[in-house]
Amino acid sequence: MRALVVYCHPHNDSFNAAVRDLVLAKLDAAGAETRVHDLYGSGFQPILTTAEWQGYLTCPDNCGPVSQEVADIRWCDTLVFVYPTWWYGLPAMLKGWLDRVLLPDVAFVMPDAQNKTIRPGLQHIRRLGVFTTCGASRWLTFLVGAPGKRTLTRGVGYLLKPGKRLVFAAHYLMDSSTPESRRKHLLRVAAKMDRLIGRAVPAPIPQPRSPQAAE
């Protein structure tokens, strides 16, 4: 197993950081090789530039500005996202990672004379994990249609191997979360990771963070 974990949160003492630590502990216990993209930690630049847009369709030169990210997504067979949901969607930082890294001939193949539509390009990825926190309730998120979840599970999910294993877990009402609700959520994440890996692997549950760092 080769797992790429994309983590996006501005605070390193956040609850999302605890989720990330648990994900990594599970992967480690499963004997997986892992690579982490800590977008805030590494100062990732999320804006697709004018030059990148102009060279967007020029493969493989379009990979130049994000060559390491592209190498990692080509290397992995398991992709995990850990992030807070802001405005029902991905933080700009993570959205920018999709914009700049999921390029033509990397993530998808553009229409041509033979093919009328965009085709998936990440069929070597067999497992997708999506872990998030939402300020909104489950009900409100459902009413809005969970745009962030859909962007990853369906939008990105479509690019991966058909029949891939997919797990999703969200802690809703994050602003009124309690140590108990956060601990329960970590147990849920642990169970989902076992399913993603395909067997139960032992890993310690991280201590719930302080209420000041709820999300």
């Binding site: 805030y40 004018t50 969607g89 959205k95 920018g96 999300e215």
Partner: protein, 193 residues
């Protein structure tokens, strides 16, 4: 009702998105709107919410200080029109970051007893002009995330009387005639706006 904030998110001024923006700005101007164009790329908007900003997110009214200029421009407007391409089933990061950083509590919504209440009710008309790389079908299968954000979340926080969502799908294969048709649709919608 006189002032419209047009938010534009595309890196190139010779793009089809820029053509849509020009039609929107020109048509609204000709119809007597006072148009304020927020061209996020040209204004070098920083879409990344910082660690400090996230910590102060719920501190009304100080939470607007990092983006006070944009909050003032938004509050001065009675109409909001957003022009952007859809990339990977969502707005470009620079625009998502504008939502993240500008639509903070007290500006777009208020939390009253833990319940979300609309606070962007000065916006009476809401418009989106966009293009998708994916086909209509594929977009619907994915659940059309960017449309839902506007038609449900923003519609709620503004309580707008009018919502216009214009989209051209399968944009990469749209020929000149289709694009011209789309620009005509945009012009007509903005005339009626």
């Amino acid at each position: 009702m006189t002032r419209a904030l047009v938010v534009f998110a595309h890196p190139c001024d010779d793009s089809f998105s820029a053509a849509q923006k020009n039609v929107v700005v020109g048509t609204l101007g000709a119809k007597g709107w006072e148009v304020d164009l927020a061209d996020l790329y040209a204004e070098s908007f920083n879409p990344v919410m910082s660690a400090d900003e996230r910590r102060g997110y719920h501190t009304v009214p100080a939470n607007t200080l990092p983006v006070q200029g944009y909050v003032d421009r938004l509050r001065a407007a009675q109409a909001l029109v957003i022009v952007h391409p859809v990339w990977n089933y969502g707005p470009p990061a620079i625009l998502k970051g504008w939502y993240d950083r500008v639509f903070v509590p007290g500006v777009s919504f208020a939390l009253v007893d833990g319940q979300v209440k609309p606070a962007m009710t000065h916006i009476r008309k809401l418009g989106v002009v966009t293009t998708y790389g994916g086909t209509w079908w594929r977009t619907k299968l994915a659940g059309d995330p960017p449309r839902r954000l506007v038609s449900r979340a923003f519609r709620y926080t503004t309580q707008a009387d009018k919502l216009v969502y214009l989209a051209l799908y399968d944009m990469n294969r749209a020929d000149h005639a289709k694009r011209a048709d789309y620009l005509a649709r945009v012009q007509q919608a903005m005339e009626q706006f």
